[in-house]
């Protein structure tokens, strides 16, 4: 059974942007992810839902390469490469973007310098010349408009003194600048009022493209009214306990998570 599954997924791997097989991850000795399997094709939007503490953010962080996460078992194939073998910065340069739940502040570093360094690191990885000042400013203007980012924000230090909504918009702005292949948005909706939520979702939708995939990690169904997923997965106690189409989100909204807990114990 497992063997056949593996063969199948190997065939499919060629079509998949991301294949996660039996991923087990521990933090400080405690196992958080207990065997995740997930396949994502180019152009798809996957929502990962689940109650607090189920391992949603851990999954995002481990895909992005955060260090304190210990991979116990399993593999992650991204565009035919073993993602877990690569450094966090290389994963980013390969097109994996994590929109942070709590974007950190970096005092004294202007946002504009930060994103310029970032864009040029991505270009360097692809063997491209750095953007000229003119090209960069033009790109920045375009993308700022896309997410309705206040012009002044890019002159301020990275996330310093930004409101909750500004921080999230800033994440989407960076995503727009970097044009990742796989965007993982970790609770991008948390702390947003409905207007900001709409702006952020519009930004995400505007970047939707048959060659790009998105993983939306969220606690609430609300965001999925705006970013419509192709698949919804429920993560519970470190395992994906249910996967279905977008209608699952509505079901969860209605019934909560408890019915899944009893069903899957």
């Amino acid at each position: 059974m497992f063997r056949r599954g593996a063969q199948n997924s190997e065939l499919e791997t060629t079509n998949n942007m991301l294949t996660i097989k039996n991923l087990r991850v521990a933090v400080e000795g405690k196992e958080i992810l207990k065997g995740i399997n997930l396949e994502i094709k180019a152009g798809e939007v996957h929502a990962i839902m689940g109650p607090n503490g189920s391992g949603k953010s851990t999954l995002g962080n481990v895909l992005a390469g955060k260090e304190e996460y210990e991979v116990l078992d399993g593999e992650v194939i991204y565009e035919g490469e073993d993602l877990l073998e690569r450094s966090a910065e290389d994963r980013a340069r390969m097109g994996v973007f994590l929109g942070f739940q709590y974007p950190v502040e970096i005092p004294g570093v202007p946002m504009v310098n930060f994103i310029k360094t970032s864009v040029n690191e991505h270009r360097k990885y692809k063997g491209l010349e750095p953007l000229t000042a003119g090209e960069f400013l033009k790109l920045m203007r375009e993308k700022k408009e896309l997410v309705h980012l206040d012009s002044q924000l890019t002159n301020r230090s990275v996330n310093e003194g930004f409101s909750g909504g500004e921080k999230k918009k800033n994440e989407i702005f960076q995503m727009a600048m970097l044009e990742p292949k796989l965007a993982i948005l970790d609770e991008t909706d948390s702390g947003l009022d409905i207007d900001a939520l709409k702006v952020v979702s519009d930004g995400v939708n505007a970047l939707k493209d048959p060659s790009r995939s998105t993983i939306v990690i969220t606690h609430y169904q609300r965001l999925l009214d705006y970013i419509v997923p192709d698949f919804v997965h429920v993560l519970y106690q470190g395992r994906i306990v249910k996967s279905a189409g977008k209608e699952l989100a509505l079901e969860l909204e209605e019934k909560g998570y408890d019915w899944l807990k009893t069903e899957n114990v």
């Binding site: 910065e89 340069r93 974007p103 950190v104 004294g108 930060f114 360094t117």
Partner: protein
């Protein structure tokens, strides 16, 4: 860590690659210190009587003084009789071209963005006739002479402008000021002298000049800067290139005198050899720097970026005598591995309506200790005076230390003194955030540290601000992650 050690090792273990390492064989005197040695130094330099008396007076006071032990430093015992107190600086090129110089050293230079011609000077390569330091000096000298600015070596000033030296030497830092100042006063070999006449705005930053000139820096350096009424000068000392010196003890003295409405900006970038990863070797830097705002509405500002030395003991200070005078101290002190720094400032408010600002940014990594020690003293007569102090510490990792020792004495009720202090850590979250945007850990640390120190770096002359930024990043390479 390895990369940094490699660079440091390559740069520092081959001392003769640096043209400015003095050749002690040729013109030096026996080691040890006595009145005879001081007389010999003075005689070798053909000094006038008043200089000899200044030195002897300082020496006699030094004999009575104990070495200070109040700083948060562990200083190994120093045998002052084991030191050679005089050697004529001799500079001669070691190489014919840059091709012969260790490529790793050149890489460090180019990481720092030092122009090619200056790299040659620093590496001890014979420089082109057109741009050699003598001709550069001559050009500078002509421009300065037109304005009446005197800028020369201290020895030259003693011989050619004895009246100025006699009048101002020891005014800011008296011979009896402290143990190391007294020692310096007794035995100093050379240094720089700068005099800006009344109403003159010095036409250039005395920086590029100095960097080329800095090759001859000695162990006991003496600098005297005099700014006459309504004059202005910006002065830069030091070098971002890692400097090795076989003299382990450095005790320099810098004195600044600002008269009515004069302004002096003094900037330092100091990167002496800090010792190896285990803390062996490295320069002990005991420096006395003090400016005196003698005139009304005069201003002295100190800006320093300290990344080098095994031990740093240094408190650039301002005596605000003139009414409405202003003192500033802006400092970035970085310690890594086993380095120890106890640095800060003293602001002494004497005149009315005097103002001082202190911005200190400490950065500690490795197992280093980094202390800020500052005194703000407002005398009873200094009515309506103000001080603002901000002392921040940034820690990388959990094995280093940051300490703040503020001393505040206010002698009247109309003055206001404010002190703010913060301690923060470079978080793994910050680094991961940068990593996730494709920025490597080393670049991320450089970026975060420079952001933290920006307020001070902005005060440096432009070309050095850029070098200092790179220097901070290089000094921390490999210290996290």
């Amino acid at each position: 860590m390895e990369e940094q050690d490699k660079i440091l090792h390559e740069v520092t273990s081959q001392e003769y690659k640096f043209g400015f390492v003095s050749d002690f064989e040729s013109d030096s005197i026996p080691k040890g210190l006595s009145e005879d040695v001081i007389r010999l130094i003075s005689a070798k330099k053909n000094e006038p009587e008043f200089m000899l008396n200044f030195r002897l007076d300082a020496y006699r006071k030094w004999l009575e003084m104990p070495m200070p032990d109040w700083a948060y430093l562990k200083v190994p015992p120093i045998d002052f009789q084991e030191i050679i107190y005089y050697s004529a600086p001799k500079k001669k090129p070691q190489y014919e071209s840059l091709d012969e110089v260790d490529p790793d050293l050149l890489e460090t230079f180019s990481k720092l963005g030092i122009p090619l011609e200056e790299q040659k000077v620093l590496a001890g390569v014979a420089v082109d006739a057109v741009i050699d330091s003598v001709s550069v000096k001559t050009t500078f000298k002509e421009t300065l002479a037109e304005k009446g600015v005197i800028f020369c070596s201290f020895s030259e000033a003693v011989l050619e402008h004895p009246d100025l030296v006699k009048k101002y030497l020891g005014m800011s830092v008296p011979t009896s000021d402290n143990f190391f100042a007294a020692l310096n006063s007794a035995v100093f070999s050379d240094g720089s002298f700068c005099y800006i006449p009344k109403g003159v705005r010095c036409p250039m930053e005395l920086s590029t000049y100095f960097r080329i000139n800095a090759a001859g820096t000695g162990q006991f350096e003496r600098t005297l800067i005099i700014a006459e009424d309504s004059s202005y000068v910006s002065y830069l000392e030091g070098c971002t290139a890692p400097m090795r010196d076989e003299n382990q003890l450095h005790a320099a003295v810098v004195e600044i005198i600002a008269l009515d409405r004069a302004e002096v900006k003094y900037s330092t970038v100091q990167n002496w050899y800090p010792g190896n990863k285990e803390g062996k070797g490295g320069v002990y830097n005991f420096v006395t720097k003090r400016g005196i705002c003698r005139g009304e509405s005069s201003k002295i500002s100190w800006t320093q970026v300290e990344t080098g030395s095994a031990i740093t003991w240094k408190y650039p200070s301002c005596i605000l005598m003139g009414d409405n005078s202003v003192g500033e101290f802006n400092s970035v002190a970085l310690t890594n591995n086993h380095q120890q720094a106890d640095t800060g400032t003293k602001m002494v408010h004497i005149g009315k309506n005097t103002k001082s600002t202190i911005i200190s940014k400490g950065i500690s990594a490795g197992v280093s200790d980094n202390s800020y020690r500052g005194l703000v003293k407002v005398l009873p007569g200094a009515i309506n005076s103000r001080n603002f102090s901000q002392c921040d510490s940034l820690l990388l990792g959990s094995t280093c230390g940051a300490h703040t020792f503020p001393y505040i004495e206010v002698g009247n009720k109309s003055s206001i003194v404010e002190h703010e202090a913060t301690t923060s850590k470079i978080g793994e979250d910050q680094i991961f955030y940068c990593n996730q945007r494709g920025i490597s850990t080393e670049d991320a640390i450089g970026m975060i540290v420079n952001g933290y120190a920006k307020e001070v770096l902005n005060k440096l002359p432009m070309e050095f601000a850029v070098e200092a930024q790179k220097l901070l990043a290089i000094s921390l390479e490999g210290s996290v992650g």
